[in-house]
């Protein structure tokens, strides 16, 4: 009887402790907003990270004010930054770079994947990173499309697939669907459940799409002449909810 009680107490203790931990993380996460895939600023672990043209600037913002912590030199042509858990994914005209922020004030380079010069926002999840490359004019010579990288070995990202898509801009990831904004070609949903064989699901042509933020079962789209909101609770069929026209 005593042993059983002991086990129950230990079990409850573990449950309570882990719930508190989760609660803590959720609280921090909800006090930070969410940016698009083309952002140069991002906040993670109480630090502000700026993707400058050829450097990653790090500021401690735990007290509200910003205190400079580090300036990490990067290859030139840096354009975008995307946080995922304890990593930062940086998109530049020359490639995608992965940095560890396990020590938030001290980003450490993990792996990188070079590509032909192009404009490239990147988003990522636990195992894969998704990059749209757009080669045109100022951007460069790459083939337009959605590129998927295996990042399980984070020191050596490996390209798994390329889905050719014309004029891709920003992108957003929800579960196993990547929404690719394609300017006047619309917004294309791509099924990436099998990352080796990404499949186009459908394209919505309501506007000229530049970037998208998926959040709380909604898609918030930055379109050329306004903002469009979609209900994305059913990823197989997004429903236009409202718009803000300028």
């Amino acid at each position: 009887m005593r042993f059983k009680q002991f086990v129950i107490v230990i079990f409850l203790f573990v449950v309570i402790v882990s719930c508190e931990k989760n609660g803590g993380a959720a609280a921090e996460a909800s006090s930070t907003g969410k940016g698009g895939s083309m952002a140069r600023f991002t906040i993670a672990a109480n630090h502000l990270y700026l993707a400058d043209y050829n450097a990653l600037e790090v500021y401690d913002i735990s007290g509200g004010n910003a205190t400079k912590k580090a300036s990490v030199p990067l290859d030139w042509g840096v354009e975008t930054i995307f946080p995922y858990k304890d990593k930062l994914f940086i998109g530049s005209t020359n490639g995608m770079f992965i940095y560890s922020i396990a020590d938030p004030a001290n980003p450490v380079k993990l792996g990188s994947a070079q590509h032909v010069r192009s404009c490239d926002p990147v988003v990522a999840d636990e195992k894969y990173s998704y990059v749209t490359l757009r080669g045109s004019g100022q951007c460069g010579a790459a083939q337009d499309g959605l590129y998927i990288y295996d990042i399980k070995d984070v020191l050596r990202p490996k390209q798994l697939s390329l889905l050719p898509l014309q004029s891709p801009y920003g992108l957003g990831l929800v579960d196993s669907v990547v929404f690719v904004c394609r300017a006047d070609k619309g917004l294309t949903a791509v099924n990436v459940k099998d990352p080796v064989n990404p499949k186009e699901m459908y394209t919505v042509k309501d506007a000229n799409f530049l970037d998208v933020i998926p959040i709380d079962q909604l898609l918030i789209c930055y379109v050329l002449d306004g903002i469009l909101l979609y209900d994305a609770s059913d990823l197989k069929k997004i429903v236009k909810l409202g718009n803000l026209n300028y």
């Binding site: 969410k34 600023f41 502000l48 509200g64 400079k68 042509g77 970037d211 933020i213 930055y222 306004g226």
Partner: protein
């Protein structure tokens, strides 16, 4: 019989000689044509920057909602959507009812392109400065910190065009290159300029 091996050798020798010398030019190569001279610059309709040295250009204040002029990057937090109006500030929209989002305010922030928010603090750029803005009270936002020259420092060494904190009103146009010594750019005006100048892709 003795003649044959010699003939073979002779044939080999001749073939080798012909092959090797086929690469030689029997006539002197002409000098390469000089490149044609660049066409003289012509006047085109472009933009010239409007400068200001008034510190009021850096003032960060809340303002009434207004129409977007140069849509830029978006950011979402709780029930609000923020959108950068490139070079001019940040519009604030309320998405509590997603089927009818509302334009509720504007934060005047010249030279702005980027933003990120944590708690009640907005972290943004004001030209090349990093600014921290207290947004607890929407009607009275307050700049609480400014770090001058925080970024876009390396770009002039590598970029073909310097980073445009306040970009020209349209793309695919020539513009008079920015002279930082004249102040900060607060706007652009159309003008007839020579096309041997900066270009906004």
């Amino acid at each position: 019989m003795n003649v044959l091996p010699n003939m073979k050798h002779l044939i080999y020798f001749l073939s080798a000689t012909i092959l090797l010398t086929s690469c030689w030019k029997w006539r002197p190569t002409p000098e390469p044509e000089p490149l044609p001279p660049l066409p003289p610059p012509i006047k085109v309709l472009g933009y010239v920057p409007v400068y200001s040295t008034d510190p009021a250009a850096y003032a960060i204040t809340a303002d009434t909602p207004r129409a977007m002029k140069y849509p830029g990057k978006i950011y979402v937090k709780d029930n609000l959507i923020f959108q950068n109006d490139q070079g001019f500030g940040i519009h604030v929209f309320d998405k509590t009812i997603p089927s009818s989002p509302k334009n509720i305010g504007f934060i005047k922030l010249k030279g702005n392109q980027e933003m990120s928010i944590k708690g009640n603090y907005l972290y943004a750029n004001s030209y090349a400065d990093l600014v921290v803005v207290d947004i607890t009270d929407w009607l009275h936002v307050k700049e609480v910190q400014r770090i001058k020259g925080a970024f876009f420092q390396g770009n002039s060494a590598y970029a073909k065009n310097p980073y445009l904190f306040v970009p020209p009103p349209e793309r695919s146009v020539y513009y008079q290159c920015i002279d930082d010594n004249k102040g900060v750019v607060i706007g652009w005006k159309p003008d007839s300029i020579y096309n041997n100048t900066c270009y906004y892709y």
